[in-house]
Amino acid sequence: MRVILTAKPRKKPLIPVEAETIIPRHFRQGRDLTVWEGNRERSLRDIFDVMVERTAAAAEEVEVILRGDVSRFKRVGEYMDAGKITIEGDIGMHCGNFMTGGTIEIHGNADGWLGREMRGGRILCHGNAGHYAGSGYRGEKFGMKGGTLEILGNAGDFAAEYLAGGEVIIHGNAGDLPGVEMVNGTLTIHGNCSRPCGNMTGGTCTVLGTVRGMLPTFRKNSTLLHGSDKIPLTVFEGDIANRGKGILQVREYSYDD
């Protein structure tokens, strides 16, 4: 089953749309879905041109394709458990909140909080992601607990904050403070970042680029050669300010004065 949702031009395109109903399972059930545009509840058909091809026996067989300007559509794929969502352009904040299964593929950029508190499944973002990708929301002590979040572009600040399981891979650069308060899981940054992993207590963070503002509360332990390219990495343990036992391995690093 393929559901193609093409966003209609809106009179006030800056008003955010809360679209947590857009998950594959809901389309298989054929429910009348609504979304909130600002403080107005709208039928899905008021907001999108909806095209449905074939039927599906299970949510796993449903693919939802979002076209047009959905850059202000929030919470797409929240609590998604199966199937696939493909976003052809940019997507708004909180895409894939709490998802437990299935796949979200974003061909453009994602706004903040991509895959926050994700539990399973896979998110692939071809563009850049905003701040707090794969993190926990305000006050939450355990962020992402499972699944895979892969960002082919850059990520903003606080990527994988409170990471507690699963895998976050950032192919570009990450911003300030990635992996802060990490408890478990793995975070890999292929590019550069600054001040990673403050207060981490567990898990592994690998930075294959350069770290600026390396925190002084990490103890240098050893060196290793990473992967088939045998990239030399320095291995740190920390955050010792927090009696942490996390592993931070970096290719190049510098401390702030």
Binding site: Y137, R138, G139, E140, K141
Partner: protein, 566 residues
């Protein structure tokens, strides 16, 4: 003139010795009267249980530390969300909800008056601002004097009258209702990184003991003829073995007032622990209750703990530091310069934790072992023991041995070796519950005489009608029906107006702030006392002229005047 007639109400009104009579209640312009005309609006209560509006005599719902709890606990706002509906604002939060959330939920449970348990005088404005956004309950604020420098100097000089004068000036300045002592002396010692373990430890620099502070302020309080007694959070809260300190404190209390107690000891559950460490903690509710039973001059509240998530917040800074060392989660600590401290941490009370199970049992044991319900009131120290929305469950537990036994089977298996709850067969009745949730509070707070907590002619028409018929209900068996009835009134009437109907608030509400003003002779006016003024301007970071809360913060003032005898 607006008139309302509440018909066929099954009334329990302990202060007027009414117990389950079916009667009509006539209301004119917000007050209960003998009769009303034929044009009055009529509500048929259909034989439902009708009580005076609920009064919470110790809760934390407004002020700087509650608000800091909100800052600290953004995740708490994920729970308890309700959308805008009619006159109701959107609300959110569970243990530290928005002010409207507090007000609506209290109103749905039939509560019409609440007392904020601890207001630092210096930060009183914030409390009053939040009061004005808690529109469905009349509000009062306990004012903290536990680490007050001028008071401790007066205590050191054994000058009860001067202590009284300082209390009178401060209460009038900050529109406070009563004297609150939170870990007296301990909060000042905390400024030095220390604490006091019990009532005989001297406070650094001032060299006074908590016992002296408590005794002096009890006497000062009575000299001022204040409506409420001293409201005490004993020293050494939450420490295994602290019950001896609690009983020692109770032994200090003289019987000075014929109309009410001389000491209100709050959240005594946290002060009735035996043992020497967390490993051997056990219940000492029995000796504490025995002490209360022999002393009519003492009223306590349960401080019941209920399992689940909540936020603890108190002016007892050193205690919160100890809790932080147990939990290693978020922690806030705050020093209010010359007055007190505060601390906040989030907690999760678990049935898997033996300590928590013992705490749960102690609160219930206190309520069941104190013979006179007027001496043990129902409260959770909201939100410290549990958010106030859990009160109905506590009522159910107190009224049903079967419910207690069922709960007991789900908690830590070793609890039975540490507590005696499972051996207590007492089941409280409807009248006891009416005492413990409103009449007892009205008497203890001294607000029965301004028409609170009873339904006699001349009383303020604050009424809660619960959708349950007591003659058809056996609370011991149908505890689930009791719990659900107390969760949502059929009608909550505040000052003669229906404010809440079947759980939905139907009016904006206009509350009143009740505060105490004790008039002292001119010689005792601290505003003109050169020594007091000099020290104030020297040590406070604010000028004395900027310290009092302006009238603009009290849109509807309910001042209780009294004449001090100094």
């Amino acid at each position: 003139m607006t008139e309302l007639l509440l018909r066929n109400a099954c009334v329990i009104d302990p202060l007027n010795r009414v117990n389950g009579d079916v009667m009509d209640i006539a209301i004119r312009d917000g007050w209960i009267v003998e009769s009303v005309g034929n044009g009055a609006e009529v509500i048929d209560a259909r034989g439902f249980l009708t009580l005076p509006g609920g009064i919470d005599s110790h809760t934390h719902i407004c002020g700087t530390k509650v608000n800091f709890g909100r800052y600290m606990m953004p995740e708490d706002m994920r729970a308890g969300r309700t959308i805008r509906k009619g006159v109701m604002h959107a609300t959110s939060g569970y243990s530290v909800p928005t002010t409207y959330g507090n007000s609506y939920r209290y109103s749905a449970m039939g509560y019409t008056s609440i007392l904020e348990g601890a207001m630092a005088p210096l930060e009183a404005r914030h409390t009053h601002e939040e009061f004005s956004a808690t529109p469905l309950q009349d509000t009062m604020a306990n004012t903290l004097f536990d680490g007050n420098w001028p008071v401790m100097e007066a205590v050191k000089e054994k000058d009860v009258k001067r202590a009284a004068a300082i209390v009178a000036w401060t209460l009038a300045a900050v529109k406070g209702f009563a004297v609150k002592l939170t870990n007296p002396g301990g909060t000042e010692a905390w400024g030095w990184g220390k604490n006091v373990t019990c009532i005989r430890d001297p406070v650094p620099h001032f060299e006074v003991t908590p016992a002296e502070i408590i005794e002096t302020l009890i006497r000062a309080n009575e000299l001022l003829r204040l409506p409420h007694s001293v409201h005490l959070h004993c020293n050494n809260l939450g420490a295994p073995g602290n019950y001896q300190c609690t009983i020692g404190t109770f032994d200090l209390v003289p019987d000075l007032n014929k109309e009410r107690q001389s000491l209100y000891a709050t959240h005594v559950q946290f002060h009735a622990y035996g043992g020497t460490s967390w490993k051997d903690i056990n219940s000492k509710a029995e000796p504490v209750a025995y002490s209360v039973n022999r002393k009519p001059q003492i009223v306590i509240d349960m401080g019941q703990m209920m399992f689940g998530k909540t936020t603890t917040m108190t002016a007892d800074g050193p205690m919160e530091w100890n809790l932080y060392r147990l939990h290693h989660n978020k922690w806030s600590n705050h020093d209010v310069e010359l007055e007190t401290t505060s601390g906040i941490i989030p907690v999760y009370y678990s049935k898997k934790s033996l300590v928590n199970c013992v705490m749960w049992a102690i609160g219930l044991e206190l309520a069941l072992l104190v013979k006179d319900p007027w001496q043990c009131l129902l409260a959770t120290d909201n939100p410290n023991g549990a958010p106030f929305v859990r009160y109905p469950e506590i009522i159910g537990l107190l009224m049903s041995k079967r419910y207690r036994d069922e709960e007991f089977r789900t908690i830590h298996p070793d609890t039975g070796k540490r507590v005696i709850l499972d051996t207590l067969d007492r089941e409280l009745g409807w009248h006891d519950i009416a005492v413990m949730t409103r009449a007892g509070q009205a008497k203890a707070l001294g607000i029965a005489k301004i028409g609170k907590g009873h339904l006699g002619v001349g009383a303020e028409a604050d009424i809660a009608v619960y959708p349950i018929r007591i003659r058809d209900t056996d609370p011991s068996r149908d505890y689930a029906a009791v719990v659900s009835a107390f969760q949502r009134t059929a009608w909550t009437i505040k000052r003669g107006r229906v404010v809440c109907r079947d759980g939905d608030v139907v009016v904006e509400g206009t509350n009143r702030t009740i505060w105490a003003n004790s008039r002292v002779p001119e010689a005792f006016d601290m505003g003109r006392d050169p020594e007091f003024v000099k020290k104030f301007d020297r040590y406070y970071t604010v000028r004395m002229a900027n310290y009092p809360v302006q009238d603009a913060y009290i849109p509807r003032s309910g001042c209780i005047e009294s004449e001090a005898v100094l």
